[in-house]
Amino acid sequence: MGFLAAIPWDQVVIQTVNGIVTGMILALIASGLTLIFGIMDVVNFAHGELFMLGAYMGVVVFATSGNFWLALVLAVMMVAILGAAIQITTLRPLVGRDPLTTILATFGLSLILQNYALWQFGPVPRKIGEPISGHFNLFYLEYPYYRILIAVLSAGIIGAFWLFLKYGKYGIWIRATTQDRVMAQAMGIPVPLVHTAAFAIGAGMAAASGVLFGPLVGVNHVMGLDWVLKAFIVVVVGGMGNLGGAIGAAIFISLLEAYASLVVSPAQAVIVSFVVLIFTLLFRPTGLFVPTPK
């Protein structure tokens, strides 16, 4: 029983809350990434930059209007439109070609978008103001309400997206296209349009997470890199193209990292996600949450 007493329960609770908050942002990014991969087999290396651009759009709208909610909505819409334009001009011509071409194309896009942001906004981090500023007491910490709001909003967006996929007419089109592109076409589903829409939705979700995350740290042109790397890990661990798996893996890995930082320094805790990735690839290469194929 002495072992139980040695556990710092207050810190465990704090890290659980932290892990869930980060996990929900990560889940929001990874949902879009896994949607795009699932439906068109495109590994979108520019996803982190869509997240970053969303945050910058948020900065711009927030600076002019002072309204966080307006910033969130406009950033999502603008990045979704940009995503649609990117899909039509860059990815649509590559359909049916070697998957390597789409990797190169999205990687190139990521460099372009990153440097565009650096050129437009400069290297100094920008801030988005929090929409609510209160704190509550969590043991010895003053925990900001805004972090809880992030988790709730992310969960809300993911939930709405799930409902849309499950019951919406276009949600069924997206799922049918994901499963069998050829048969979807033969059933009258305009597959090229569905691809564009799915990319726009994925981009919009990345932008939403960028705006939500913006107030926590400064917005800068390389902020997407860390997140996209982690989102890739989450997508692989959850099973490529599996939405529920990606969400589960995002929370699972974020919690593990949060707990790990109780024992080692937070910089070292990052290793946890790679360890999970390696074990997943070794023992369950189709993903942690995918039943082993029969």
Partner: protein, 243 residues
């Protein structure tokens, strides 16, 4: 012997299709009249499925013409052809395995211009023909048996209210009871005025269900006859289909 042009629904003229460098179709010509059931017979690998895929726009023919109600359709994307009235039931059924039976049907039903009342009518109709689909409407398509999946594939194509259904080996691998059920539904569709281009290995069933048959060999039509003029032991059948 070919159908009068005025009544022709789908016409295929001198169709050539390649897969990479292999020349699969060497000038296929066939016609399907409005509401007509036409059989397309031939051994494995003679290009029957490729003919259907070429009509559906799933593979692009390099030469030749396809028309639907005298309108040229070669080169149009499959989703447009589906909306113009061509239903496709592929050989391997290709139902959406993770979608429920109902969602599978909705892929064809959720079109612009279909009223809720019309949707209900169409659903009631297929559930009357295939009661098992009604019972399993909330079950994932992948959990259905082979015969049930075949019914779902046909029912799904019916949701498009097609003028013609391209039916690729619907009885393959099914038990006799299911085969007669498929035979029945072909009869029902025929009575409703839906044309069918039926690719089959099952010669007796095809001769019984169709008005005319084409026989293919090596990527071209070799013989064409009214179904009632042929019987299973006909020398023509023996030559092109006998083992």
């Amino acid at each position: 012997m070919s159908a009068p042009a005025a009544a022709s629904l789908v016409s295929v003229e001198d169709l050539h299709t390649f897969y990479g460098k292999s020349h699969i179709l060497h000038g296929v010509t066939l016609h399907v009249g409005k509401g007509e059931v036409v059989g397309l017979l031939g051994r494995n690998g003679v290009g029957k499925s490729t003919t259907l895929k070429s009509i559906m726009g799933l593979v692009q023919p390099t030469k030749g013409a396809v028309t639907l109600e005298s309108q040229p359709i070669a080169g149009l994307p499959p989703h447009k052809l589906a909306r113009m009235g061509i239903g496709y039931v592929p050989e391997d059924r290709r139902i959406f395995k993770l979608l429920t039976v109902m969602e599978n049907l909705r892929t064809g039903l959720d079109r612009a211009g279909v009223t809720e009342a019309r949707k209900k009518e169409l659903l009631d109709k297929v559930f009357a023909y295939f009661p098992v689909l009604g019972e399993r409407r909330d079950q994932a398509g992948g959990t259905l048996s082979g015969g049930e999946q075949q019914m779902l594939a046909i029912a799904r194509a019916m949701m498009l209210e097609p003028k013609i259904i391209l039916l690729d080996e619907p009885t393959e691998g099914l038990m006799p009871r299911m085969v007669s059920q498929i035979r029945e539904i072909i009869g029902v569709l025929h009575k409703e005025g839906v044309a069918i281009l039926l690719v089959e290995q099952n010669v007796p069933m095809t001769l019984e269900a169709s008005q005319r048959v084409y026989i293919m060999e090596k990527g071209a039509i070799r013989h064409h006859a009214a179904s009632k003029e042929l019987n299973v032991n006909d020398p023509v059948i023996q030559e092109y289909l006998g083992v």
